[in-house]
């Protein structure tokens, strides 16, 4: 091999080292390297940071019922839970960011103590509950499907207690027909409340019979840990048969009322988001098909189930109602 080279290239033809490193080549190399770095940097800048796993305190749970009974009541769904990493790095929590992948970093260090939930309105015994008081109520694990109105879904092992347990404590008056919920309003701690992407504070509502349903819970944790900030710490609503936005996060106020309370997304787009917002494959959203869903972690579509698969437990609540009108 070396012989062949010797023959082909004369010594005079070999480029001088100095010429090789001439200005043009150097400039070209520099331009290429600099622009490629800049492009990479720009791309990275516009992309959210990599996912991280939260390290939360453990929560003790009371195991209440045998497995078959849990399945029958809808308390435990027999589907593979979504990994913790996905549950904690893909969040719609506009108070921190409108980018689902950014909420985890933006919500880091969110202060949840002291925290109290004001429960009042049309009740006999209005009361300000300290969070620690609520955590003393028996905490159960509930493995629920979670279906976002955007067309994706997860399976989440929540920890929490039935909302009815709390409502019973304050003794609702006969006139109370609805329950309104409100998220913390504090732009210091929830920085995106400084923007006008939604009208703050976030509010949600349920009919009283929906709120009293055993599937409706106030969650305080998931995967056996204290609820991470990005998932609605320290206490949030979970109503598994409704689209995710109904399950309001970081609750500070619950009030029992006579009239249907305003709800944030319904106010934002009444034609797109109804008060009920039950998961319903037959009523499409103008921008997302609701007939199928994308289960996070899977690569094929899934059929969306009526009431998110909880029809057996909750369909009776809506008997005689036209769910196309009351969507």
């Amino acid at each position: 091999m070396p012989k062949k080279f010797d023959k082909d290239i004369k010594a005079s033809e070999i480029t001088d080292y100095k010429v090789y490193l001439n200005r043009r080549n150097f400039m070209r190399g520099a331009a290429l390297a600099a622009s490629a770095t800049a492009t990479t940097f720009l791309y990275r800048k516009l992309n959210p940071p990599p996912a991280e796993l939260p390290k939360g305190q453990k929560i003790e749970t009371a195991i209440a019922k045998p497995a078959d009974e849990l399945a029958k009541s809808g308390f435990t769904v027999n589907e593979k839970p979504t990994p913790l990493e996905d549950i904690t790095n893909y969040n719609n929590f506009y108070e921190f960011s409108t980018d689902k992948r950014e909420v985890a970093t933006e919500s880091k260090g969110f202060v949840t103590r002291p925290w109290a939930v004001d429960v009042g309105g049309l009740v006999n015994k209005p009361q300000l509950f300290d969070l620690d008081e609520l955590l003393k109520l028996a905490q159960e694990e509930r493995v629920y499907r979670f279906r976002c109105v955007e067309g994706w879904s997860m399976v989440i092992p929540w920890i929490g207690f039935p909302l009815s347990k709390l409502l019973e404590k304050v003794e609702p008056l006969p006139q109370a027909r609805y329950v309104g919920f409100q998220t913390l309003h504090d732009p210091e701690r929830l920085p995106n409340q400084r923007t006008g992407v939604l009208s703050w504070p976030y509010v949600e509502g349920l009919r009283l019979d929906e709120a009293m349903h055993p599937l409706a819970i106030l969650a305080t944790g998931l995967y056996g840990q204290v609820l991470p900030p990005q998932d609605g710490a320290p206490i949030r609503l979970v109503v598994p048969w409704k689209y995710g936005f109904k399950s309001i996060k970081s609750i500070v106020k619950i009030s029992l009322v006579a009239e249907q309370p305003p709800t944030t997304w319904n106010t934002e787009g009444p034609s797109e988001y109804g008060f009920y917002s039950n998961v319903n494959p037959h009523v499409d959203h103008p921008r997302w098909s609701q007939a199928t869903e994308h289960r996070i972690g899977e690569f094929t579509g899934r059929r969306t189930l009526m009431f998110n698969g909880y029809a057996e437990q909750v369909a009776h609540l809506y008997e005689g109602m036209d769910l196309r009108v009351n969507f």
Binding site: A31, T40, E85, D284, P286
Partner: protein, 205 residues
């Protein structure tokens, strides 16, 4: 700049870097909980970015007098088409799971998809006629008239993005603002002939 060939290489490489990073991130599973949505979102954004970049060439050329910039316009436009094609393919494969029959009803039902589809098909004749031979065949005048469709594609792309966002319209509005400036400049140039006579706006002051 005399070194056109190198400049072209430079732009070519920089334009393909986002795709390389996207593939690399997908390979190391760094695209989050919903990779399909992420890839769709990223390719869509890149389509709009390249459409806007291709629309920036003419104003920039007029203002700076750097006429050689026009040599990169077709490449930028082709990249817009390329990323638009990838964007469409992610929709067909991952949103529709290759069930092509479901596409017409989905397009009819979701206006923002209709707008996106329309925008993509607008870019097809532009991509097809982007070779030197096609420019010659059509003749410069007709060619540049046809390629005014880019304006409509820009509007379509931004509208498509704006329609899909739930409530935080800051990014689509930024795109819309840039587009407005780029198209507005052309409108002003068309109806204010006085400024046209001066090669550089800035050298006046």
């Amino acid at each position: 700049m005399k070194d056109t060939r190198f400049a072209k290489t430079l732009i070519f490489i920089n334009s393909v870097i986002p795709l390389m990073l996207l593939l690399w991130d997908t390979y190391r599973k760094q695209v989050g909980a919903n990779p399909l949505e992420f890839v769709t979102r990223t390719t869509g954004m890149l389509t709009i970015v390249f459409l806007l970049l291709s629309l920036t060439v003419t104003p920039l050329r007029r203002i700076t007098g750097a006429n050689w910039l026009v040599k990169f316009r077709r490449m930028l436009g082709l990249y817009a088409f390329f990323y638009g094609f990838l964007h469409l393919m992610t929709y067909v494969s991952f949103d529709r799971f290759f069930k092509l029959k479901t596409i017409p009803s989905d397009v009819a039902q979701r206006p923002f998809i209709a707008v996106g589809m329309f925008t993509f098909f607008l870019m097809v004749p532009l991509a097809v006629t982007s070779t030197n031979r096609m420019v010659k065949r059509l003749g410069g005048k007709r060619w540049s008239r046809l390629h005014k469709l880019t304006y409509l594609a820009g509007v379509g792309g931004v509208l498509h993005y704006w329609m899909l966002v739930k409530s935080d319209t800051r990014i689509p509005l930024t795109f819309a603002f840039v587009l407005l400036v780029l198209l507005g400049y052309r409108l002003v140039m068309k109806y204010v002939p006085a400024t046209r006579a001066t090669p550089s706006l800035f050298s006046q002051s």
